[in-house]
Amino acid sequence: MSDDRAVLTEVATGLFRDLCTPEDVVAAEATGWSERLWTALTESGFPLVSVPEEAGGSGGDVADACALLTVAGRSAAPVPLAETGLLAGWALAAAGLQLPEGPLSVAVGAPGDAVELSGRRFSARLSRVPWGGRSDRVVAFAASGGQRFVVSAPPAAATVTPGRNLAAEPRDTLVWDDVELPDDAVAPAPPGVDAAALRLRGALARAALIAGALARVAELTVRYTGERQQFGRPVARFQAVQAHLVTIAEEAQLAGLAVQVAALNARPDPSFLDVAAAKTAAGEAATVAARASHQAHGAIGMTKEYELGQLSRRLWSWRDEFGSERHWSRELGRQLAAEGADALWPRISTGLVEA
């Protein structure tokens, strides 16, 4: 890890430890939002890491943003950290649009989403928008008159129907019905800034959050099974329980390393192969590790106060967001099949690429 990134990670770890305790996460459940945490993050410039400074961001690269997300994932942070910078901030900066002060979100490309743009007249129906109702702007892509545009749509002009994922994080449906967008809301989309590129970033961001949550799940499970006594000894002494600990450690490490490689190779943008593999690995890891950790914890894991549930409910949600394992493995498989049998090994054995 670069020195700058190590410092960033250390500072962020302290901030989340102080301001995003398991009690804070429980307390934020009603709204899916922690104002105190968001304010502190904004003061540190963390939400806009990876957005260029000249565009109003905090600088840094995709790997820095993913390192932050991994820390946030550990703490089950109830804020749109990924959406604001790595996703919306990226598109707005690339299109030369203004970065608003507050939280931002994006159209995730949910089934049934529709966008229409004519001049500055805007109609859209976007569902599963993360923290959509609470965002200052929601970024979407639109085609109009044979050109592609980045749209920075204000939720204030939309009808918002709240929705939630399994962890009570807001996933709202927003409908704009032929509204006039403000002056600063539309700009041509540069090449490479489109829904497919956004989806790659979104999938990488979720994989990074998953990696962080898995690392914490692994720690919690080792700690709990070392303390919990049954039959006169810690349950971690039983081979059947040890098998769970090993599985969780493996899955957490597999996902963590796949995410790091994908993030470090993003210079400046993440590659399809890296992200498809990382999101597939992270999604599978989420399923397997959540199951093993709940089994190792027993009934305490089924209570809402205990930290594990805050993490597992996010794992069960994030694995499906921005494309499930099935989605990404199908895309990856199609691409690899198209390249043919003799290209398969060179593709698999491409890891971290020299800067």
Binding site: Q242, T280, S329, R330, A341, E354
Partner: protein, 378 residues
């Protein structure tokens, strides 16, 4: 945990390209790939490989080797395994015996054996398991008795891979009686010539019908003092210590890769959505496991002792080798036949018959879990 993202240096990329080019020329298109390090025994291939400097890479030049890094060895091994190269003759000597000789052997033993191993000409088997000793190796009963100038060894080793073709094996045996409560003491490793008088090798037919396993009966086999490997009485520490780090190489996750490649070759580019999912999942997991395995090699080069990491890689890697076989069987919807005219189908049949061994050899999944879990909780 010491898993860190690992980038290859230009010289390492160049080595990989060189090996790929060699294999493309050496292994004709349509050749029947070997599955894993034990897949095929081909002394000629081993010697050819050695001439290129790709055997004995960990052995220092003064013993005929090449003094290369763990990452260099990793890169060569993964190319060979991915291509299904027949490396069974030299692989165990190279991976296991040579490092043991370097760590524990006398100067004389190194001079005697290492140049032959590095030349791809001297092959070793492992002499650990016995009829009543598998995972519980400390219970071995093979016994060495002091005689003038050495030892006489009596006992029976089983599941001894390729003993009928190899030259020597390192026998774990008892050189002093079991003491109450110290069952790991009194064990030693002796280097035994498989052609010595009193050594009787009989085949134990392998599940796929091949001759791979043997029973090796030792009856008063004389082993001179200079063939004791390491300290007398330290056999247990020797077989469980440094060698544990050798667990996590590409031979623990690539054994069945050729089945996937040949499936894709026969299937062609026009895969169904369901087949694409299978291919994508396997490829994603290959990439992830490879990163872990490579990072252990890099950590070894940096002087670390990643024993827990190595156990995790082997545990997850060998299970994956098996998962791949079942995933492809499920996708292919075919009846298995070793004599199938389809290369993929024949390989799949071979893989189904041999893959149960992957999670047994070199430490069972259950033993590895126990090793790793102790490290995780520490």
């Amino acid at each position: 945990m010491q898993f860190a993202p690992t980038v290859l240096a230009p010289a390492e990329e160049a080595l990989r390209a060189e090996v790929r080019e060699f294999l493309a020329a050496e292994l004709p298109a349509g050749h029947r790939p070997a599955l894993g390090f034990a897949g095929r025994h081909d002394p000629e291939f081993s010697r050819t490989l050695a001439k290129r400097g790709w055997v004995g890479m960990a052995i220092p030049p003064e013993y005929g080797g090449h003094g290369r890094s763990a990452v260099d060895r990793f890169l060569v091994a993964e190319e060979l395994l991915a291509a299904g190269a027949p490396i069974g003759a030299h692989f165990v000597a190279d991976r296991q015996t040579a490092p043991a000789l370097l760590h524990f052997g006398t100067e004389e033993q190194r001079q005697r054996f290492l140049p032959g191993i590095a030349a791809g000409e001297v092959y070793f088997s492992l002499g650990m398991s016995e009829p009543d000793s598998g995972s519980d190796l400390a219970s071995v009963r093979t016994r060495a008795t002091r005689v003038e100038g050495g030892w006489t060894v009596t006992g029976t080793k089983v599941w001894t891979s390729e003993a009928h073709r190899n030259h020597f094996f390192a026998v774990l045996c008892r050189t002093s009686p079991v003491e109450e409560g110290r069952k790991h003491a009194g064990l030693s490793q002796l280097l035994v010539d498989l052609a010595a008088p009193g050594v009787r090798i009989s085949p134990i037919p392998y599940l796929d019908g091949s001759h791979h396993f043997n029973e090796v009966a030792l009856e008063d086999v004389f082993v001179p003092d200079d063939m004791v490997l390491g300290e007398l009485g330290s056999g247990w520490q020797q077989v469980t210590s440094e060698l544990a780090y050798e667990r996590s190489g590409p031979d623990r996750w690539l054994s069945t890769f050729p089945v996937l490649r040949e499936w894709l070759r026969e299937r062609g580019a026009d895969v169904s959505g369901e087949e694409a999912v299978v291919l994508g999942r396997l490829a994603a997991r290959f990439r992830a496991i490879r990163q872990l395995s490579l990072s252990v090699a890099r950590a070894l080069d940096a002087g670390a002792a990643p024993a827990v990491e190595a156990a995790l890689v082997k545990e997850v890697g060998t299970r994956f080798e098996q998962d791949l076989v079942e995933a492809l069987r499920d996708a292919a919807e075919t009846e298995l036949d070793q004599g199938s005219g389809s290369l993929f189908s024949a390989l799949l049949a071979e893989a189904v018959l041999t893959s149960p061994s992957y999670t047994l050899r070199g430490g069972t999944t259950e033993i590895l879990r126990s090793v790793a879990a102790k490290g995780l909780s520490a």
